[in-house]
Amino acid sequence: MTALLEVEDLRVAYGKIEAVKGISFSVEAGQVVTLIGTNGAGKTTTLRTLSGLLKPSAGRIVFDGKPLGSVPAHKIVALGLAHSPEGRHIFPRLTIAENLQLGAFLRSDKAGIERDIQRAYELFPILGERSKQAAGTLSGGEQQMLAMGRALMSQPKLLMLDEPSMGLSPIMMQKIMSTITELKAQGTTILLVEQNAQAALSLADQGHVMEVGHIVLSGTGRDLLVDESVRKAYLGED
């Protein structure tokens, strides 16, 4: 079986500075795959390239059988690749309901969109209670829920989550992580970039450790969790 997402020797540069220096990995349908690593390792750059916001300088991206290298960003979501960006980036002056509708921008099945909005409200009840409120008035954790709900509105084949727990309180972080576990149980394919390596690796099928633009270590989530060097570098143990 070929993978849903196949990344081969991907390189991305900002001007002369190469941020991603030839990485390869794949995501199978139904899997949760995580990229972990310190700031500046190239994780966010990788996701932004997959969703077309950045252009690769070399390498191949094949998603669902189609090469993505030169597809413009606004056409990628139509192929089934949704991206919940780092820092949440909800539309602050639109309401919660309008944010969710924008997530379904390319869909035309009104009834289906309405049903999925209700599903998002079930997943995150707070969004339903505040549906008419400007999204900018939500707390950080609530905004993260909205960003994830919005990404799900496109009915993606692959959901990319960039640092969903960043800047959240421990309780909120737990809530977000348990939602990801729930989505996984429902069969959603997820590519997760996370600074909270412990949480990410415990729910991932496959993990990759990135350092300054390279993947330095790969394995199942469980293997990486007990790996000596990972424990030292990312789980705060010595």
């Binding site: 949704a82 980036h89 539309f91 639109l94 924008l102 400007a134």
Partner: protein
């Protein structure tokens, strides 16, 4: 005779005209953070487009028939020039330092004036524009509304209503708000932001064409230089109202129009400068008002009613 109602009506009509032009500045700024200083010339070209249609029409045709056609013709001309400017002058500079598109806009403004001056038949002189015949509407003894003023007073609110509805209710309008707030994330939703930017330029240009027809009908003439001062005033109106906010553009226009008309009427003499009383000072008061607002409320009058920004 009480002068006030008449001055208020004059100010409103002038302000509605400024507001219609100001929409173009504010929409483009709201989406690409560019001050399109060539927008005054887009307005002027709308006027020449409308005049061209009028010249093509058989003589003696009723203005009721001619005006809608002139608005369409003016809008075709202004939208064509504005979208071409976006495509060939501004888009290549996206991501360049902010000064580059600004200087391009000023250059484009001069170029467009010179092109009309050089190539439109006889444009070196003022071109006469059709005028309403018939009397002004007499509302009370103290208040006469000229037909040209009535035209802009009816059309401007209609245009604003249509735009407000489009931006807040339609799918493209929502995509436009998303692009204004966060262009990269809008792309992630599947919004073709290039198309939205073109749309913002086009809507601003169409509104400018409506304004140009109103202006021509009022003055009875248009000329290749008219976009300069009117563009500057409309830009002032946009900043006054809170640039980026479509309702702010209209509010800013009306405040500016009223300030001008009332200052002409009531500030007759500046001590020691009595040779310059009245009308000569209207531009001064307009820009004084701008400076005061920028000092007291730099975000503009509606700069914080952010829910409506587009």
């Amino acid at each position: 005779m009480n002068e006030l109602p008449q001055q208020l009506a004059n100010g409103l009509a002038l302000g509605a005209l400024y507001g219609l032009i100001a929409i173009g500045y504010t929409m483009v700024y709201g989406i690409v953070q560019l001050i399109n200083f060539a927008h005054g010339e887009i307005f002027m070209i709308g006027g020449f487009g409308a005049l061209t249609i009028y010249i093509w029409l058989p003589s003696g045709v009723s203005l009721l028939v001619a005006i809608p056609l002139m608005i369409i013709g003016g809008a075709i001309a202004s939208v064509a020039v504005a979208t071409a400017a976006e495509r060939f002058a501004y888009r290549p500079l996206r991501g360049a330092p902010r000064l580059a598109p600004l200087i391009t806009a000023i250059g484009l403004s001069i170029a467009l004036q010179q092109i009309v001056w050089g190539f439109y038949p006889d444009a070196k002189k003022h071109k006469s524009f059709p005028e309403f015949s018939g009397d002004a509407f007499k509302i009370t003894d103290d208040l006469l509304i000229q037909r040209a003023d009535a035209f802009v007073l009816v059309l401007a609110p209609l245009c604003m209503l249509a735009l407000g509805f489009f931006v807040s209710k339609s799918r493209s309008g929502r995509a436009m708000q998303a692009t204004a707030q966060d262009p990269d994330t809008a792309k992630l939703m599947g919004v073709n932001t290039d198309r939205i930017i073109v749309m913002a330029f086009a809507i601003g240009a169409a509104f400018a064409a409506v304004a140009a027809v109103a202006y021509g009908l009022d003055k009875g003439q248009i000329n290749f230089e008219m976009g300069f001062i009117l563009g500057l005033k409309a830009f002032t109106a946009a900043v006054l109202g809170g640039i980026g906010n479509i309702y702010g553009a209209m509010v800013g226009g009306v405040v500016l129009g009223l300030a001008e008309s009332l200052s002409i009427a009531y500030i007759e003499e500046i001590p020691g400068m009595h040779q310059l009383g009245g009308g000569a000072w209207s531009n001064v008061w307009a820009f004084v008002l701008l400076i005061v607002v920028l000092l007291v409320r730099p975000q503009g009058l509606l700069g914080e009613r952010v829910a409506d920004r587009a």
